[in-house]
């Protein structure tokens, strides 16, 4: 029998018996970041493809959620800081090797772009909206003229934002559960899927919903594929990683993960969407909400379980 214990009575809050430094703020932020990335990605891509007319909800309405999500996410990040008065130090330096630093700067760029994008559609969506100041009206006109030009960097940064939410975790190789490069693409695809879910929810155009629905089915299949390979990677990894994945294969996270994330959050919605494409009447609310909840719970579980996993020595 192998026994390990602290002789000196170590019992540091949030570190012992398991690491738990990041609470609900971080997974919520990761979810919101992925959501905004997904929405802005689709908005940008369809604008570039010239399909704004046909994809009104995608391009005009959904992006309204993006700046809200990003600003809420930033606020949650700020809440999570324990030395809040010094938060501005984040912006005094660029540290290329720090994913946290990346996050701070990428958000710095994404948030204004998303605000500008959404703002430029305000007069279309709310006819009574008046910008009041001349320079704002001029700026709006410029943005509307150059939408495609703006869409390119927006798509690029949306992808970076989506992948970054995964890279943030995978950069911490001290947590075996996160120490896998598949997390970046996985979180990107998951984020895009949640973005698509939002679009499905608010779009009134049946044809638009069909297009987005088909893309979402593809995204979910890719996500399931990634998750399978994620688990295969852990199982074939070091003992620390095998221990880590066992949390999800028989350990305390098995039930919530497979029930809420895999079945209810991925498999069931994708089946519903396929059925809808085949012509069955399915209230779109159901798969959309399930995808959103599944994405949120997935991030919660990953952040909590990841902190529990550790190196064995």
């Amino acid at each position: 029998m192998k026994e390990e214990l602290f002789v000196s009575g170590r019992n540091i809050p949030n570190i012992d018996p398991y690491l738990n430094i990041w609470h609900w703020e971080i997974p919520s932020y990761l979810f919101l970041g992925g959501l905004a990335a997904g929405i802005l990605f689709f908005a940008g891509v369809f604008t570039i493809m010239g399909k704004e007319e046909k994809m009104a909800a995608t391009v005009e309405k959904a992006p309204l959620f993006a700046p809200v999500a990003l600003m809420l996410g930033l606020f949650l990040l700020f809440l999570d800081l324990k030395h809040k008065l010094w938060f501005w130090q984040l912006y005094t330096t660029i540290r290329l090797e720090s994913p946290m630093g990346w996050g701070a700067w990428v958000l710095m760029i994404m948030t204004p772009i998303s605000i500008i994008w959404s703002a430029s559609y305000l007069t279309e969506l709310f006819p009574n909206w008046d910008w009041k100041f001349k320079f704002l009206k001029d700026f709006e006109a410029w943005v509307i003229k150059n939408r495609v030009l703006i869409a390119w960097p927006m798509v690029l940064y949306a992808v970076i934002l989506g992948i970054y939410t995964g890279i943030l975790l995978s950069a911490f190789n001290a947590r075996p559960l996160w120490n896998t490069s598949i997390l970046g693409p996985l979180f990107l695809v998951s984020g895009m899927s949640t973005g698509a879910a939002v679009i499905l929810l608010i779009s009134k155009d049946h044809k638009e919903r069909k297009i987005i629905g088909k893309i979402d089915i593809l995204l979910i299949v890719i996500e399931l594929f990634f998750i399978t390979h994620l688990f295969m990677g852990y199982k074939a990894g070091s003992e620390a990683q095998i221990d880590a994945v066992n949390l999800f294969l028989g350990g305390s996270f098995t039930a919530p993960f497979f029930a809420f994330v895999v079945v209810l959050g991925l498999i069931f919605p994708v089946l519903l969407e396929v059925m809808e494409l085949r012509g069955y009447k399915v209230p779109i609310v159901v798969p959309a909400i399930l995808i959103l909840l599944g994405g949120l719970i997935f991030r919660f579980l990953m952040v909590e379980a990841g902190q529990i996993t550790r190196y064995l020595y």
Partner: protein
Amino acid sequence: MRYAMAIDTRKCVGCSDCVVACQTENDVPLGFCRDWVKEVVDGTYPNVSIELRSERCNHCANSPCVRCCPTGASHFEDGGIVLVEHNKCIGCGACIESCPYEARYSHPDGYVDKCTFCIHRVRQSSDPACVSVCPTKCMYFGDLEDPNSRLVNVLKNRKYKSLAPEAGTKPQIFYLL
């Protein structure tokens, strides 16, 4: 200059003097600790063995905590000692997540804290508090680049290991076996 520590597991009795000394030296708040003692028991009675280790931040040469810090608060000082500058730290917790040895903690005052190799003592040519107090004299501190140091000598003559070398962080604390 490359500061490092060697700890002789043959002599350590797990008295935890290193923990109390660090506490009184560095004003570590009660309920937190910068160093700790672990006991690992292996075998089946009566073929049992134990290993006693005093652990702390390993002041890694390839430290993930310095790398991941978004503000640069975690940085290297003299001889590779890893320190946290309190007024640059925003308390984001990234460094705590990145440490394979769980050596860092969130100080009640908001910043992240950990073992500093008692740099204030080292700069006055003293040993860190834990090394100075250890009754079994099982701890050695010194400059790996100084061929005349006690530390280099003891590493030359004994077998040693460091913790979780596969984490790739190049820890600078060596446990003599």
